[in-house]
């Protein structure tokens, strides 16, 4: 461990705090449908889109209507991408002449990109044409991010409105988020990445003759445009197999810092937007404080484990931290930090191979996802995820003092608590159920690249990542089979929408309530006591379920590593 390593982690946390408010202010303007400077250029585009689609943006909708619109939009996008991937062979911009994808891979990939998971059972450079990458996949990087943010807006309105019947208009939210935030931000971001060395070309590959005289085929493509939205929209699906470890996706230490920051930018900003919307920005800062507290602990543990290295390899004669599966230009600290960020958010981009991390270093990313990705989290999804925990947090506090719980002026009653528990409890059921199924079936076990406890970790990681809509992997697992593509596809879909539907129902029920003025009996949800309670609720409710599985995987693996056992 080095001082620079710790400075990097703490410096990063400081940068996130700095970015949160400006981003939150901008998001608040979009939430409210206010005019921004960009309206001069994009306002006509927005109005044109509404006119063509027959949408009245001012029409306020109830939570059911909002949910149906969102679902239908996602289903249409899913079908479009499935079709494009199946027909890849006859579509243009396919310089390597790649064939269409198999049915199960196309299904898995279409679900994956629609649900903001971006799990990839394939290696991009060898499977996807430029057309598939741009038209089939890049659009979902935008759609799924816009969907997530729109849903967060609906949930925020649930808390902010009083005696209202609606939670907003999905079409308007989705369109505004895309036009006034994602698209302009990505235009700027992609150009910065270009300057840093990320390619953007329609040429598929270039042949080089190396200094030693060998032939090297260098895969290229329209990488920069996809890279920008991949990070900013917490999508994480790489253009290349190696994702942000590939020198063309992430050429240097500075692009790496920018990528890490862009994963958290919108998620952190939304906490401020929430506070502003409910009339007290301290409410937002308290949520962000809890997130960053849990984050810093996780980053510290991962960094310590990776910097300490592997005693089995030390015995062979290696010095220093664990560098298997890491790039020299990032080093141990920035790799450990990236891994913690990408799994705290639902990004899933990687700049190092998590499968080759030390057992404890790999357990933190796994645990981050199992908590439901509420540590900043995916764009939108992180905010509504942690607000579900906030509901449970005030409920627990209410039980302790024997009062009806309230949160930001809304009474939290039986219906909200039941729905929040439903949304949170379904996830472990799917993760553990499917992991168990894979661990006792031949098709499941066949996918492992590593044996022993680490092989179990690979399976557990895959289903955790799918249900949590993360998309990163212990990538040794061979997942491009009908068994894994099918099961993981179902897992991703359930993991996304089994949280969203109960969450929208809560939003609808909260929006209809009156605001109760804070009294001396109200539990304050802005101070350190609340931050501590919220962290405890997240760790206990979110994490405890997974301890037995973690004991069989990473913890057993750690014991084996210390004993020097090999598999």
């Amino acid at each position: 461990m080095t001082v620079q390593g710790w400075l990097l982690i703490l410096g990063f946390v400081a940068l996130v705090v700095l970015v949160a408010k400006p981003m939150g202010v901008w998001l608040f303007a979009i939430l409210e449908g206010r005019r921004t400077p960009l309206h001069a250029v994009l306002g006509p585009v927005e109005r044109g889109f509404y006119a063509a689609a027959g949408v009245d943006p001012a029409q306020d909708r109830g939570w059911r209507r909002y949910g149906v619109d969102m679902l239908v939009f996602n289903l249409i996008g899913l079908l479009l991408t499935y079709t494009i991937l199946r027909l890849q062979g006859v579509l243009p911009w396919n310089s390597q002449g790649l064939p269409g994808l198999s049915g199960h891979l196309a299904f898995n990939t279409a679900v994956s990109f629609t649900t903001n998971t971006n799990w990839q059972s394939y290696g991009g450079e060898a499977v996807m044409s430029q057309f598939s990458q741009m038209v089939g996949l890049t659009i979902h990087n935008f759609f799924s991010a816009a969907t997530g943010i729109a849903l967060a807006f609906a949930f925020i309105r649930g808390f902010a409105r009083r005696e209202a019947s609606g939670v907003g208009n999905f079409w308007a939210d989705m369109t505004r988020v895309t036009l006034y935030l994602l698209l302009p931000a990505c235009l700027v971001y992609a150009v910065v990445l270009l300057a840093g060395g990320v390619p953007q070309t329609l040429s598929g590959a270039v042949d080089a003759t190396t200094l030693e005289g060998a032939r090297q085929t260098i895969g290229l493509g329209p990488v920069a445009s996809q890279e920008a939205i991949k990070m900013l929209g917490t999508n994480g699906g790489g253009y290349f197999n190696a994702n942000s470890a590939h020198p063309f996706e992430n050429p240097g230490a500075l692009t790496n810092l920018l990528q890490m920051l862009s994963i958290f930018a919108i998620g952190a900003g939304l906490t401020w937007t929430f506070g502003k919307a409910v009339g007290n920005t301290k409410q937002g800062w308290a949520i962000l404080a809890a997130m960053l507290l849990l984050f810093t602990i996780g980053a510290g543990v991962t960094y310590s484990a990776e910097a300490a290295g592997n005693p089995i390899h030390h015995a062979l004669g290696i010095a220093g931290g664990n560098m298997e599966g890491k790039e020299v230009r990032f080093g141990v600290a920035a790799s450990a930090l990236f891994a913690t960020i990408t799994t705290a958010a639902s990004c899933g981009a990687v700049n190092a191979m998590h499968d080759s991390f030390t057992p404890i270093g790999g357990m933190v990313p796994l645990f981050n996802m199992q908590l439901g990705e509420v540590i900043v989290g995916g764009v939108g999804a992180g905010l509504y995820g942690i607000l579900l925990y906030c509901i449970l947090g005030v409920f627990v506090a209410g039980l302790m003092v024997g009062r009806t719980p309230e949160y930001v002026g809304k009474k939290i009653e039986g219906r909200e608590v039941k729905l929040a528990v439903l949304a949170i409890a379904v996830l472990p059921l799917i993760i553990l159920g499917m992991t168990g199924l894979a661990a006792v079936s031949e098709a499941g076990l066949a996918g492992r690249a590593n044996m022993g406890p680490h092989g179990f970790s690979e399976i557990l990681y895959a289903f955790t990542s799918a249900v949590a809509n993360n998309g990163s992997a212990f990538a040794g697992l061979t997942a491009n089979t009908a068994f894994y593509n099918g099961l993981l596809g179902v897992a991703m879909w359930l993991g996304r929408f089994f949280v969203i539907i109960p969450m929208l129902a809560i939003a609808g029920s909260l929006a209809a309530k009156r605001v109760v003025p804070a009294s001396t009996g109200s539990f304050p949800t802005t101070g350190p006591l609340w931050v501590g309670l919220l962290c405890a609720v997240i760790l206990i409710l979110g994490g405890l379920t997974f301890l037995p599985a973690l004991a069989l995987g990473p913890i057993a693996d750690q014991v084996a590593m210390l004993r020097g056992d090999l598999f």
Partner: protein, 195 residues
């Protein structure tokens, strides 16, 4: 109650319009900006010698000859396949990994390296295309290079130190060196006849 049909028109129309805007318009706009303002980077930062592409500044290539600074082990295809990026994905308790590292360390010892082995020299990178070596991993190869090329160790060491890139902002990463750039400099000191 669930009126799916009335959502169909906005869903289809907005999907179509946004697909044109985001799936075609946006990448082509970046393509235009890239080709106009950053043509070198946009086309892969290629290095061209005498009209022939030698490689990319950013992408590592296989160096296994004792006369060159050797790159890290690679799991990309058969090694440094820049159309098939990959890490080894071998875990911390993997027997295959321990054996591979053991073999590579034995080779280093045979080449005369003593003391602790810099970790990056015998571990596979995440992409399999790592263009860099740590300062330490380059320096342990200096005696072998000097011997093979008939140069003084001091001159080779000076070359390495000149090529070292310091961490950005003083805290992002560790000092490292781009191996392709380093080996090109080496060839300028003592040209190696191409096979």
């Amino acid at each position: 109650m669930f009126d799916f049909l009335s959502a169909l028109r906005p869903a289809i129309v907005l999907t179509a319009l946004f697909t044109l805007l985001l799936g075609v318009g946006y990448p082509l706009a970046i393509l235009g900006i890239g080709q106009a303002a950053f043509p070198h980077q946009a086309n892969g930062s290629l290095i061209v010698d005498d009209g022939k592409v030698v490689g990319s500044e950013l992408v590592g290539q296989a160096f296994t000859s004792p006369r060159y600074f050797n790159t890290r082990p690679s799991a990309a295809g058969k090694g440094y396949d820049a159309n098939s990026s990959s890490g080894s994905n071998l875990g911390p308790t993997s027997k295959a990994l321990a054996e591979r590292i053991g073999t590579d360390i034995a080779a280093q010892r045979k080449a005369g390296v003593t003391g602790a082995i810099p970790a990056d020299l015998v571990t596979a990178s995440a992409s399999g295309l790592d263009p860099d070596l740590s300062r330490a991993a380059a320096l342990v190869q200096v005696p072998r290079i000097a011997r093979e090329r008939g140069l003084s160790e001091a001159s080779v060491r000076t070359l390495v130190e000149k090529q070292i890139e310091q961490p950005a902002l003083g805290m992002l990463g560790d000092p490292h060196v781009n191996v392709l750039a380093l080996n090109r400099q080496l060839d300028r000191m003592t040209p190696l006849s191409r096979p």
